[in-house]
C-alpha cells in the first residue's frame, strides 16, 4: 500500500500510511491489554501519539500528555469524544492520529458543513440497482457511520457544529443504543448493531458558530476535550520550524527557514493571539485566528518568497508581506491592529530582524 501511494505521488497520505512502520512496530511489541476491537492497547496508542524516542516512535502531537490519556480513555468508554478548540490547534490531526491508533484506519471521515445530509453520514443507495432490484444490501451504499459500526472502527466527524442541528442528531441512537436502523430493508438487515471498536471522534471549532449549536441530548453523549494553543514559546517555535522546513522541502526550496526570522514570526503570532506583549503591554487581540497552523503557513510562504524571488531563505520583511493575507484577511480592523502592533511594539524590539520587520510596515496594504 505504501508503494502504491508513493507511486501515485499522493499529496498527503493518511496517518496510518505515513506512519505504517511505526504502527507495525508498536503492534509487534504491544503486550498491554487491548480494549475490545482496538488495534493497539491504550498505552501503545499513547506512545504512538506522544512518541517514544527509545523505540523510534516520533512525537506527533505537541501538547498536554494528559489530554491524550483522557481522549483515549473516553474512546474506550461508551461516550464519544468531542475535540473542541480554536481553529488551527491541531484538532483534526489529533482525531486522525487517534483513529489511526485505535482502528488502524483514519479514513472513515465525515466532513461537516452546511450542506451535509444524513445520506453522507449513514448510507445512501445505488439508484440504478435500487430501481432494478428494490432495496437490498447490494443496492445499499454505506457511508462512514454505517461502515464504522459494521466494521467496529472509529468514525471521524469533522466540524460537527457546522452541520444543521437535525442532521447532527442522527448520531443520537448510534451513540447511545449503538444501533442503526435501515427501515428500507427487512429482517436481519434492517438493524445494524455496532461491533466492538466503534466510536465517534467529533471536532468542533469554538470560533464559528460555537458548540452551543449542539443539542443537549447529543452533548451528553460526548466527552468534551478542549485543545489549547501551544503554551510554550520554545515548543511552538520548534514545531513551526520543523513543519515549515518539511513543507519547504516539499515545495522544492533548497534552504531551510532561518531560525531568527521564525523567532520574529512566532513571537508576533503569539503576541497578537494573546493580546499581550512579552514585556506585559496589553493590546488589542486580532479577531482572525493566529494559530500555530497559520504560523506554519506564513513561514512556508516566507520561505517560498525568499527562494523563488531572490534565492535566499526569506527575511523579516517577507513576514510583513505575508501577514497581510493571513492575519488581516479582509478585515480592515485587523489590518489597523496589525499596523499598530508593527508601529508600537515591533519598533521597540532589539535585533536586526525586528528592525527589518518594523521598517517593512509600509508593505501592509492600505
Amino acid at each position: 500500500m505504501t508503494n502504491d501511494v508513493a507511486e501515485k505521488r499522493v499529496q498527503r497520505p493518511a496517518a496510518e500510511v505515513r506512519y505504517a512502520g511505526e504502527l507495525a512496530r508498536l503492534r509487534a511489541t504491544d503486550d498491554g491489554e487491548r480494549p475490545p476491537g482496538w488495534a493497539l492497547s491504550l498505552r501503545a496508542a499513547r506512545r504512538f501519539i506522544l512518541g517514544d524516542e527509545a523505540a523510534g516512535i516520533s512525537r506527533k502531537f505537541v501538547g498536554d500528555a494528559s489530554l491524550i490519556d483522557r481522549a483515549l480513555v473516553s474512546l474506550a468508554t461508551s461516550r464519544g469524544l468531542m475535540l473542541v478548540g480554536e481553529p488551527g490547534t491541531a484538532k483534526s490531526l489529533l482525531s486522525e492520529l487517534l483513529a489511526a491508533a485505535v482502528s488502524g484506519d483514519s479514513t472513515l471521515t465525515i466532513q461537516g458543513g452546511a450542506a451535509t445530509t444524513e445520506d453522507q453520514i449513514k448510507y445512501s443507495w445505488n439508484y440504478a440497482l435500487l430501481v432494478a432490484e428494490g432495496p437490498s444490501t447490494r443496492s445499499l451504499v454505506p457511508a462512514p457511520l454505517l461502515r464504522g459500526m459494521a466494521e467496529g472502527r472509529v468514525v471521524r466527524f469533522e466540524e460537527i457544529t457546522r452541520c444543521p442541528l437535525e442532521v447532527q442528531d442522527c448520531l443520537l441512537s448510534p451513540l447511545s443504543d449503538r444501533v442503526l436502523a435501515i427501515p428500507e430493508l427487512s429482517g436481519e438487515d434492517a438493524l445494524v448493531f455496532a461491533r466492538e471498536g466503534f466510536n465517534v471522534i467529533a471536532t468542533a471549532n469554538t470560533r464559528d458558530r460555537g458548540v452551543n449549536e449542539m443539542s443537549a441530548a447529543l452533548k451528553r453523549r460526548f466527552n468534551f476535550e478542549t485543545v489549547f494553543a501551544i503554551p510554550d514559546f520554545a515548543t511552538e517555535l520548534a514545531l513551526v520550524e520543523q513543519e515549515a522546513a518539511q513543507l519547504l522541502t516539499g515545495s522544492g526550496v533548497a534552504v531551510p527557514p532561518r531560525r531568527d526570522v521564525l523567532e520574529v514570526l512566532v513571537t508576533a503570532f503569539r503576541e497578537l493571539r494573546e493580546g499581550r506583549t512579552e514585556r506585559g503591554d496589553s493590546m488589542e487581540r486580532l479577531s482572525s485566528v493566529m494559530s500555530t497552523a497559520e504560523a506554519v503557513s506564513v513561514a512556508h510562504a516566507v520561505g517560498l518568497r525568499g527562494w523563488f524571488l531572490r534565492g535566499d531563505a526569506g527575511s523579516a520583511s517577507d513576514i510583513v508581506a505575508c501577514l497581510a493575507g493571513t492575519a488581516a484577511k479582509d478585515n480592515a480592523d485587523d489590518l489597523a491592529r496589525l499596523r499598530t502592533y508593527l508601529e508600537q511594539h515591533a519598533g521597540r524590539r532589539k535585533g536586526a530582524h525586528w528592525k527589518e520587520f518594523y521598517d517593512s510596515r509600509h508593505l501592509l496594504p492600505g
Binding site: 491504550l42 498505552r43 499513547r46 506522544l50 498536554d64 500528555a65 494528559s66 489530554l67 490519556d69 483522557r70 483515549l72 480513555v73 473516553s74 474506550a76 468508554t77 461516550r79 473542541v84 478548540g85 468542533a204 469554538t206 460555537g210 458548540v211 452551543n212 452533548k219 451528553r220 460526548f222 466527552n223 468534551f224 476535550e225 478542549t226 489549547f228 503554551p231
Partner: protein, 780 residues
Amino acid sequence: MSRDMPRTELLTIVGVRHHSPACAGLVREAIERLRPAHVLIEGPADMNPRIDEFLLGHELPVAVFTSARQGMASRASWSPFCDYSPEWIALTEGARIGAEVRFIDLPAWHPAFAERANRYADAERRYTQAVDGLCRTLGMDNSDTLWDHLVEIDAGEVPSAELGARLNAYFDLIRGAVDGGRGTEAERSTDEVREAYMAQWIAAALRSSPERPVLVVCGGFHRPALLRRISELSFPAELPDTSWPEVPEPEPDTVAVSYLVPYSFRRLDAFDGYQSGMPSPAYYQRLWELGPRGAARSLTEDVVERLRKRNQRVSTADLIAARVTGEGLAAVRGHRHPGRADLLDGLVSALVGEALEQPLPWTGRGGLAVGTHPAVVEMVAALSGDRTGRLHPDTPLPPLVHDAEVELERHRIPDSGVLTLDLTVSPRRDASRLLHRLRVLRIPGYERASGPDPAAEDSTFTEEWRISAAPDRLSALIEAGGHGPTVELAARGLIGERVLSRQGLDTAAGALFDAVLCGIDDLSSQVLSGLADSIASDSDVEALGTVLTAVLGLWRHDRLLDAAQSATLGAVVGGAVARLLWLLELVTGGAGTPAQPRRIAAVRAVRDAVRHASGPLELDAERAGAVMTRIAGNDDAPADLRGAAFGFGWSLGTPPPDAERTIRAAGGPAVLGDWLAGLFALAREQCLEEASVLMVIDELVASMTDHDVLVALPALRQAFGYFPPRERETIAGQVVQLHGGADSGRALLRGRIDDPVALARGRELDSHVQAVLEREGLVG
C-alpha cells in the same frame, strides 16, 4: 577509617518533599526502625530553644511566622506544617521516642531566605529545566503529576526501602542536572550556604553520639549535597569540638521575631511560582488519613456536594462515567489506584460538557486563571480544602495580640455585628481610630461600610462598621505583630512602609489618608522625607493636582478627623506645590490638543494653596507668581495652561496690565477656546467683572469666518462650561446688549432647543454630516 572517627554509617538522611504524605510515612518508619539519638530537621534553628511550643498539642495546620524588620522595611516568611508534613512527623515522633529533636537550618530572617516567603517551597521548582526534562521523558504534564506517579499513589504498598531508593534516585537526578551547571550562580550559592550550615549540625550530632543513629529529615534536593559534605569532613581534626553550631544573630539594626500562627489549607495552597510546594492540601490530608481509595471517594463526594450546592446538575450517570474514566486513566498511566490528576481528569470528562476557556489548572503551573470553568474552580477548591489550624491556648503570642484585645475591650467593640460611631464624640472617635488601625493592619473581620471620605467633601459625621468573627483573625494579629508591639505602633509602621514603598503617588496618598483616619499625625521624619521624595519624583501633573486638592482640603477644613493644620499634611502641601510649579513650567507642545480639565485643576490647586496656606506653610508666593507669568508668556506651552497661568495672578488680586491685549494675542480660532478654558477655570469672577473681556471675545468671534467658528466652537463651549448657569445668563444678557438687543439673555441661552422636533432634526443633520465625513474618510 580510624577508630576515633564517628561512624558516618550511623547517619541516615531521609530526603523528602515537603508536605508529602508518602515522605511522612517514610520518616515515621525510619524513626520506628532506627530509634535515633538525634532527629535533625530542616527548619529554623533559632526556634530550637522553643521547640516545646510545637509539642503543646495544636490543631494543624500551623506555621512559624517570622518577621524581620530593618528600619522601615520588613519582610515576612512562613514555615508551614500540616499533619502529613514529614518535618512535623519527625518533630512529634522524634520527641515521642525520646530522641533529641533539633532544627538545623538557618533562621528565616537570614539573607539566604531573602527571596523566600515559604520555607517549605519545593527547592527543585527553581530549576525548572531539570524537572521539565524528566516530565517530558516520562510523558507527564508537570512535576506534581510526575511526583504522584512516582511516589504518592502506591506509597502504601511499596516497601519503604524501595520507596526511599526511588526518592533518592529522583532527587539525585535533579540535583545532578542542576549541579551540572543549569542553575544560576546566585541560586546555587544560597543553597550552598544553607547546606554548609546544616552539615555543621549533622557533624556535631555525629560527634556527640558516636554510637547511636542520627536521623536527618531535609528536602531531598539537599540530600546529595549534605552526604557529600559529611563524607568530606575530616573528623579527627575536629573531634575535640563537641559543641553545637552557633545560631546566627541578626544585624543590630534588624528586629526579627518568630511566632507560631494558626495556618490554613487555603493559605498553604495559595503560594505560587517559586514559593509553591505540594498543591491540594485537602486531598493529601485524606490520602494520609484514608489511603488512595478513601481519598478518591471522599474527594468525589466533596466535589459533587459543592456542585449541587451551586445548583449544578450532577447525575448518577455522570458519577459512574467519572469513576470509570478515572479508573481508566489510572490504568493507562500505570497507576495502581487513581491519583489526584486521574480523579480530576475523570470528573472533568464526565461533568464538563462544553469547551473550556482556560487549560485545566492541574495540567500546568500556577494558579487559577480568569475564565476557568466554574466546575473546575469548585474541584480545585474541594482539593484545596478549608481546614484551618488552631493553636493551643498556652502558646506564647506577640504583645500586639494582647494589646489589641485590651484596646477592643476598652473601646467596647463587639466581636461581631454592626457598629455605628458618632465621630463628633471623642471616645467614639478613638474607637473609630482603633478600628481603622486594625483595618490598615489587614486584620480580617473589620470592614468599614460607610463614613466620611477624607479625599472628598463630605458632610457625614457617622461611621458604620461591619464586624464579623473571621476565623483567621488571630493569625493576622500575630503576623501584624511583626510591625510593632502595639496596634498603634504597628499601624504607624505599616503606613510608613506604604508611603516609602515607592509605588507611586497614589499609594502614598492612600497611605496618608489612612494615617489621618487612624489618628496618626506624627509620622516619623523619615516617612515625611520619603513622602517628599515620592512627590518630588512624581512627574504626573494630573495626579499631583488631585492629591494637592484633597490634602489641601483636609489641611484647611478638617475638624472631624483632627487633621486641620496638621504638620504632616502641611509638608505634603508644600512639597506638592513646589513640584507642580516645576512640572507645569516644563509642559510644552501639544498646541493642537484640547484643553485638559485635570491639568487646569492642578493649576487651580496651586492657586488655592498659595491663597490659603502661603502664610502658615511659608510657601513662596512670589516664585509661584513669577512661574505663572513665564508660562503665560511662553508660546510653546499648551493654550489651556497659558490661559490658566494668565488667570493665576489675576485671581490672586494682581489684575493684568492689559487683559484685552493678552486675549487678542491668545491665539487663533483653533486655540482660543482652550486658552479661555484655562482662564475661566481660575479667574472666572474677575473676567465677569471686567467688561472688556467679553467685548474682546465677542469681537474675536464676530471676525471669524464660518469655518473658523466651526473649529473654535467646541472648545469655546467647553470654556464657557466653567460658568454656572446664572452667570451664563448674565453673559448672554451682556452679549445681547452688545449687539443692540433689549432682551434678557435667557432666550438666547435656551435657543429653541426645548422644541423636540427641532432637536431631532438637528440630530439627524448631525448624524448625516458625520456619515458623509466618514464616507469621505475625513474622520477616523
